[in-house]
Symmetry: D2
Subunit: 280 residues, 4 copies
Amino acid sequence: MSFVLTHSAYGKSRVRLTKIERHPDRHDLFEWSIDVQLTGDFALAYSVGDNRNVVATDTMKNAVYALAADGPLGSPESFALRLSQHFLTYPQVATVLIAITVDGWRRMTIAGRPHPHAFAGEGPEHRICQVLADRETRRLTSGITDMLVLKTTDSAWKDFHRDAYRTLPDTGDRILATSLTAEWTYLEEANWDSVHTQVHESLLESFASHKSLGVQHTIQVMGEAVLKAVPAVAEITLTMPNKHRIAMNLTPLGRENTNSVFLATDEPYGLITGTLRRST
Amino acid sequence: MSFVLTHSAYGKSRVRLTKIERHPDRHDLFEWSIDVQLTGDFALAYSVGDNRNVVATDTMKNAVYALAADGPLGSPESFALRLSQHFLTYPQVATVLIAITVDGWRRMTIAGRPHPHAFAGEGPEHRICQVLADRETRRLTSGITDMLVLKTTDSAWKDFHRDAYRTLPDTGDRILATSLTAEWTYLEEANWDSVHTQVHESLLESFASHKSLGVQHTIQVMGEAVLKAVPAVAEITLTMPNKHRIAMNLTPLGRENTNSVFLATDEPYGLITGTLRRST
Amino acid sequence: MSFVLTHSAYGKSRVRLTKIERHPDRHDLFEWSIDVQLTGDFALAYSVGDNRNVVATDTMKNAVYALAADGPLGSPESFALRLSQHFLTYPQVATVLIAITVDGWRRMTIAGRPHPHAFAGEGPEHRICQVLADRETRRLTSGITDMLVLKTTDSAWKDFHRDAYRTLPDTGDRILATSLTAEWTYLEEANWDSVHTQVHESLLESFASHKSLGVQHTIQVMGEAVLKAVPAVAEITLTMPNKHRIAMNLTPLGRENTNSVFLATDEPYGLITGTLRRST
Amino acid sequence: MSFVLTHSAYGKSRVRLTKIERHPDRHDLFEWSIDVQLTGDFALAYSVGDNRNVVATDTMKNAVYALAADGPLGSPESFALRLSQHFLTYPQVATVLIAITVDGWRRMTIAGRPHPHAFAGEGPEHRICQVLADRETRRLTSGITDMLVLKTTDSAWKDFHRDAYRTLPDTGDRILATSLTAEWTYLEEANWDSVHTQVHESLLESFASHKSLGVQHTIQVMGEAVLKAVPAVAEITLTMPNKHRIAMNLTPLGRENTNSVFLATDEPYGLITGTLRRST
């Protein structure tokens, strides 16, 4: 009997980088969690424990902090690209995957003015990006996770498939709540920070403004809104858990529920996804 | 051998209430998690399983939704007081503890205007309140949890106790980051919503503006700021984990760390608390 | 206006200690998370940032690792007592609170024999202990958290209070599931490890064997079982979330539910507590 | 401008099923969390909100409970296959993905005998399985997540790549700790429960017994052990976070660390993966 290693990869996860960049009028604050994953010529480490080609994951961590010290970080996307180039300088490395999650900090406004060095934590939304690179190609994805949004009306769910297992009635007016994940790719180089801002605004605006006929419908409306608003985006994937709010039956308690009192539930939840791109 | 039940209590936790209150120009949204705990004449349920006095925790949950339907919720504090009065109508109940945690939703601003029915989730900060009531007295506490704040300078930690176990050097300029919990009591009836807003502002302003000589010092400065700014507050307790950012030693990597590159850590963490009240 | 600091405390939390103790035939493994909290003469640190009395929380962490290196750990209780004595050697310290949570590891059995140095993680149950000490007194509490237990029968919930808010019917046969927390104090010095084992066994045996008339009833049965079985225990507090399993209504799906198909829910949950001690 | 929906899928996640199967001598207990995801002819729901083809995620949930009631569950794998067949009876469905996570319960042993109806929760390890099926093919994967294992010796990490970013020294004797995920596919129909038991045993035995030259080496040793021991397994992927235990430097505290006192850390962590299959 013999066996073959058909896939392997390794790296460091959750390298938590904090950086202060000091300017005359203010400090800028960056808190990012960075993951590195490499593939390449590492089979001997698996088969016989020969580690000579293996860049230790501790060494990867060191490289992240060293490169962070070498100059301004810029956007997560540009730092991820820089890190991917660094790890490709090792001849034994074939592909590099860099993923960055931004822990958001909002500069405080004190007495009506932006404070030079005090920040309040944001959440739960995170900006993310990912670079997958080899020596010929690179694929950059940007995204947003955990964008928590809710609308109290302009959301229906009706005329869906009827069969022996359906018990849910049609409703013309329900709460729509989700914790959105969006990920997009690019047609071209862009100002990554601006694109992030535009996508974010476009998602909020389209979520708020349309009349939803279902989460599937909302996904297409929101994805199209982004593609219309942001020319640099090639393709966008939206994933939405349906965070159900269930209208309470108050009749046994001698009251009418005027579609106003709900139970918020975390599970089970619907999970709906869709990917949209420009048609050619 | 015989045994005695020296303390008992029971209730329902995590009753997750969502309510929409519809106005001509807008919807208001409330998402609260409510805990109820009762003490009273329930010993027979423990000793012999006689449940006749026991208001089921499911019944408590029903009461929360029913009372929520009966009129506008108002502030968490006023609804907690209403719930405590409700449970004291049961003669077998001696004390009622109601705790409410608010899941924050911020009305979206779309095209420069507040949207009538779309909301974005806030976090990680939560507004909380608690009522402990019997038939003679009631104690109301309001609070804020998980207020995540960070300042990149105006924070020192030096001249602390020296002994054989100390290895940490003095520092005159470090990052100060915490996830603050504040809880306060009242001198008098107040507009609970206004007090919450004033305490929140006062905490942010004092955190940003003072020069910290240590977390203990910061707690006193912030607590005094609240007591000065908000006359209705009798006493305030501030609890701060010290969410350490550790300056990376880049010397082995051939670089100098100009107090700008840090490792963010979650544990271990310092945990410091202090309670301040007006002196008489 | 002036203000007074009425309470203060500080310390280090989540000091995660791993220790290997090597014996000729085996290694013993300890993984504990340790919290330290001190009160004492620290008011100047709060009021004016004079830190000269303040033992840094980093220094506390160092002391934990140093004392762990100085000899065998013994039980969590004995190490917590040793730590409390250490921190009381500082004259400025008035009280010390030490809390230890044990991350359980079970020695692997390989080919029918205990392995000398390989371990499998246990969970979710944790052994805990706590010492609160000053120079005259000390109070030791031991405990168990997150003991997840379930019985599929011998559990009823009926004849509870009837009122306008009750909708839950009586049931003579339901699932009883909980994640138990137990905490006990001692009448006397004891073999802490043995007591932990005896309490653990006694809780499981009494949970499994009795016919529950409600969670309150189960708490008293289990608490009495511990007090009967373990003479060193003075008082025991049991706290039980009622982790509801809700029988599904399958009638609309053309099926009968023979009390066999349930929905497991995490919230809301009942939360019931009781403290029992020997009567005098 | 026009846009095209290039991918879509939807379903229900975290359907938490509890089932009791009653036998004359004992109850069997099953607690599974089930996810369903469908692809198919649902584009009109996205593009124009026409939901007539859409089987509501609530309907999916109902089907899970109904099928669970229809007969013995059997293994997670066989129930997942049954569910996949059910959802393929809808003509609009193209592919079905079913994923099941088992919440482990161990029958209690009371007074030396297995108890008929009392269970203790296991963890953190979970058995999982996944079926991806269409009308022609089906792919079944089984697995184990969160298998927490640690060895206190027989683990080295040395002779790895040297470069300007390396600071970690060689070590011949370190703690190896991980939270293993294993996923495997099958060469043939098998007794899924037996395979799970055999894989589990084989992973533990090989982890404990080999001398690790690095996590990569350990992955290959463990993967080969499974392929040797379990003929029905076609291919296995092992993923291991390296849950570092860092030896404390006690020299500044006047003590020697005899490789016995460590700091347990959760992040950053190495993350290593490898897939092995039989060579042809």
